[in-house]
């Protein structure tokens, strides 16, 4: 409670942005990850895997995607200076990322409606390749902000560097980390999407492999942070939440691996989601109170408090409609993933077949 009352409206909006970002990673991120497994589908069950993936994300991807828009809208309304700094200094990766968003979003739907097998395969590639590239760019943008390079370029004024702000080891490592974590989440979720034993095992193996790989990539990111993103690196140690959050993240990571190993898929999903949420939470708190370090924090060039208050009120009222609607959506289309041991209803999760 004291946390709530001691929060300024600006911090409230920032917290809401973080929650929306986490939701985007957990939901929209997994849709990217599913595209990664689509690209990597091999072996006798490759087609069955692709089918499963298309069926799993079809009804929800458009809703999952809106979280990203919420983050952007909150950012430009609440913190216009930070928004313009990011959009100016990271113009190139953001533009490339948007091209990826457009390609995969449209290819995903074209695939369901085109007729010939050759055309379907082509759309599949337009869906799966951008699914790999886009998260890397998204991660690179977040990583670049943490290095402070964009913030410094903004302060320096003058010509805007097109590549120097983000084509560096640390942002790219964060990009790979994002890709890895999205693929991991997707594999964990997909184990719950089918009752076919072999398919399940396929995704279980993928989940385990990506969980272990994730540990390695996390280590590289951590090492690079020391030299490239000192502010965040120090923040990780400085904040009083730092240590508990890190231990909890590690604990959930191990729990996820153990439960996957033991085929407790429901528990594995919860552990993987908490692990991801805590990683983002930890990264954000270690950057706190900066939005675009080293210069722009929650107060620099922020909107006046009245705007933040109104945003929070709008978010509160909107949630009253949004949350029940989301629950309904997931109950209708993801209900089977909660009813363990029951045959999922695998028929007709396709757009109307008139």
């Amino acid at each position: 409670m004291s946390l709530l009352t001691s929060m300024t409206p600006a911090e409230g909006v920032a917290a809401a942005m973080l929650v929306a970002l986490i939701a985007y990673a957990l939901l929209g991120g997994a849709d990217y990850g599913a595209g990664v497994w689509d690209l990597l589908a091999r072996g006798p069950r490759a087609e069955a895997q692709r089918e499963l993936i298309a069926r799993a994300i079809g009804p929800v991807w458009e809703a999952n995607h809106v979280w990203l828009i919420i983050v952007i809208v909150l950012l430009f309304t609440g913190f216009p200076t930070a928004f313009t700094a990011v959009m100016t200094t990271l113009h190139v990766p953001l533009s490339l990322m948007l091209i990826g968003v457009v390609l995969r979003g449209s290819a995903f739907i074209f695939r369901s409606y085109d007729v010939t097998e050759a055309a379907k395969r082509r759309w599949n590639r337009f869906f799966s390749i951008p699914s790999v590239v886009t998260p890397v760019l998204l991660g690179a943008v977040i990583g670049a902000i943490a290095t402070g390079e964009p913030g410094r370029a903004m302060e320096a004024g003058g010509a805007v560097p097109l590549f120097a702000t983000w084509l560096r080891p640390f942002p790219l490592a964060v990009g790979l980390f994002a890709l890895n974590i999205f693929a991991y989440l997707a594999a964990v979720y997909l184990t719950l999407e089918t009752s076919d034993h072999d398919l399940r095992e396929d995704f279980r193996k993928k989940a385990l492999a990506s969980a272990i790989l994730l540990g390695g990539v996390a280590w590289v990111v951590y090492l690079l942070a020391k030299s490239d993103a000192p502010l965040v690196y120090e923040g990780l140690g400085r904040s009083s939440w730092g240590a508990p959050v890190r231990y909890a993240t590690g604990a959930f990571a191990i729990l996820a691996i153990v439960t996957l190993w033991r085929r407790w898929y429901g528990a594995a999903r919860i552990a993987a989601m908490l692990q991801t949420a805590l990683i983002l939470w930890g990264a954000a708190t270690s950057q706190y109170p900066y939005l675009v370090p080293p210069g722009i924090d929650l107060t620099t060039g922020a909107a006046p408090p009245i705007v933040h208050k109104l945003l929070l009120i709008a978010l509160g009222c909107g949630s009253l409609i949004l949350i029940p609607s989301l629950v309904y959506l997931f109950r209708v289309f993801k209900g089977h993933t909660f009813r363990d041991g029951r045959e999922p209803r695998e028929q007709t999760v396709r757009p109307s077949s008139a």
Binding site: P59, F76, H91, G105, A314, I321, Y328
Partner: protein, 463 residues
């Protein structure tokens, strides 16, 4: 000394040239992205309404053709929605990627409108998923409700984003101190003077353009298969939605012109090619404005028409472009031509809708004569053309301002170099997407149900 001066001047020249080309590229990219998105957005507002009507007919009458129709429309809607969503996402980034100066000022003032729109998008996307994928999973009434929610939230998201554009035309709800907004009143910003006119006019435009577009498609298909009950019912619903809106559209356009006259006299002058300030100003139909001579030639002039249209008074004085300094005049040729194009399209659409209405009044039947089907087919693209033209009027007519009388477009553009590359990339991308969407939709039409198949379907369902 002279050398340094010359150098400074040439540097300044290059700096100006850079800003100019960047500005050009940014404007073109914005215009292209918005011109692309608005087509899908308009369909996203109106098509769900038509699907919901069709499904309601099915629920009431039990006639399976209506269900097939709603499902067929939903198939098209799925493609169009996906492209609408991704192109809209691009737009929300582009506001910052291209116009950081604008967003710094506008973000806090109008952001709450965008924020509310975010929730409208959310409800729309959620229930669209339920609608498209839930045909056999949830009870029919719940399914219909999901469709109705999509229709309502689509219209709402359109209205909310329009409040932002209205605010750019008639800014309100803040004071500018040292280039920063203070005393922000988001409600006043949301309800700026142009808001109501734009909201009504654009929402009607979405229904009119989409309704008549769809009607035209079914009219063409009916020409080949005159008794097909599927296309007859489709034509009926599309004509009700599109025709009603098209009949109302000139009235709302008249109101919009009135608001423009009150709030943006210079835009009105450009729309009409009105160079001189005068009482009993004529309404010009057609004509080519010539800024160098300050005359609009070859126009059919209706005496005092403009004074009546804008102020409801034949003796009202209309300000001409000459009443304003040259550096705040918008490009008059583009604005005037675009306005003429929109009005011409609107009149043709209203005429065909009137034909349908009168024919229905007299015979109580849908007009399906060859002549009417041809007319419906011919006007079907006009709504979308009018939408593009109307936006050109609004946006180009506001130049050189990005926020009317507050901020110039030049001061809002990004300093990132090389925007031509991004312009070319996005143009190629959208051109490709447009072609693919059209091809996929054409394919959907080709497999449209034939009359005998539908009869077989309804016999099966009834037995």
């Amino acid at each position: 000394m002279a050398d340094a001066d010359a150098e400074r001047r040439s540097l300044l020249f290059f700096e100006n040239a850079r800003v100019m080309t960047n500005l050009m590229a940014a404007r073109l990219q914005m215009a292209m992205s918005l011109g692309f998105h608005i087509i899908f957005a308009a369909i996203g507002i109106a098509l769900p309404l038509m699907m919901a009507i069709s499904e309601a007919c099915w629920l009431r009458t039990g006639d399976p053709v209506y269900r097939v129709l709603a499902q067929r429309w939903a198939k098209g809607a799925a493609i169009l929605f996906a492209v609408g969503a991704v192109s809209g996402t691009v737009l929300s980034f582009e506001l910052g990627l291209l116009w950081p100066g604008f967003m710094k000022l506008a973000g806090p003032v109008v952001g709450v409108g965008f924020g509310l729109e975010g929730f409208a998008f959310f409800t729309e996307a959620i229930f669209l998923g339920v609608y498209l994928y839930g045909w056999d999973r949830i009870p029919p009434l719940a399914h219909w409700l999901a469709g109705a929610v999509v229709a309502a939230s689509g219209a709402l998201s359109g209205v909310l984003v329009l409040t932002v554009n209205a605010w750019m035309n008639t800014p309100a709800g803040f004071r500018l101190v040292d280039g920063r907004p203070v005393d922000i009143d988001p409600f006043a910003a949301l309800t700026s003077p142009a808001m109501l006119a734009e909201a009504i006019h654009m929402t009607l435009a979405a229904y009119a353009a989409t309704g008549l577009l769809v009607a035209g498609v079914h009219a063409i298909l009916l020409m080949k298969d005159r008794v097909n009950p599927f296309h007859r019912r489709a034509l009926g619903i599309a004509l009700i939605v599109g025709g009603l809106a098209s009949l109302l559209q000139p009235l709302s356009g008249h109101y919009a012109a009135h608001v423009v006259a009150e709030t943006q006299p210079i835009k009105l002058a450009a729309m009409e090619g009105q160079f001189k300030t005068e009482r009993r100003a004529p309404l010009r139909i057609g004509g080519l404005p010539d800024p160098s001579t300050g005359e609009t030639r070859f126009a059919l002039e209706i005496p005092a028409g403009l004074s009546i249209l804008a102020y409801n008074d034949p003796d009202a004085e209309v300000k001409g472009l000459e009443a304003f300094p040259a550096h705040v005049r918008p490009p008059v040729v583009v604005v005037h031509m675009a306005f003429q194009l929109m009005v011409a399209c609107g009149m043709a659409m209203a005429a065909v809708s009137l034909w349908a209405a009168v024919s229905w009044w007299l015979t109580r039947r849908l007009p399906t004569g060859r002549a009417f089907l041809w007319a419906a087919a011919l006007v079907s693209p006009l709504g979308m053309i009018a939408i593009e033209a109307g936006w050109t009027v609004t946006e180009v007519g506001r130049q050189p301002w990005i926020i009317q009388n507050v901020m110039r477009t030049t001061d809002a553009v990004t300093s990132v170099p090389g925007l031509w590359i991004s312009l070319s990339a996005y143009t190629a991308l959208y051109a490709g997407l447009g072609v693919i969407v059209v091809l996929l939709l054409l394919h959907q039409f080709r497999v449209s149900p034939r009359g005998d198949e539908l009869q077989a379907a309804s016999i099966k369902e009834n037995s």
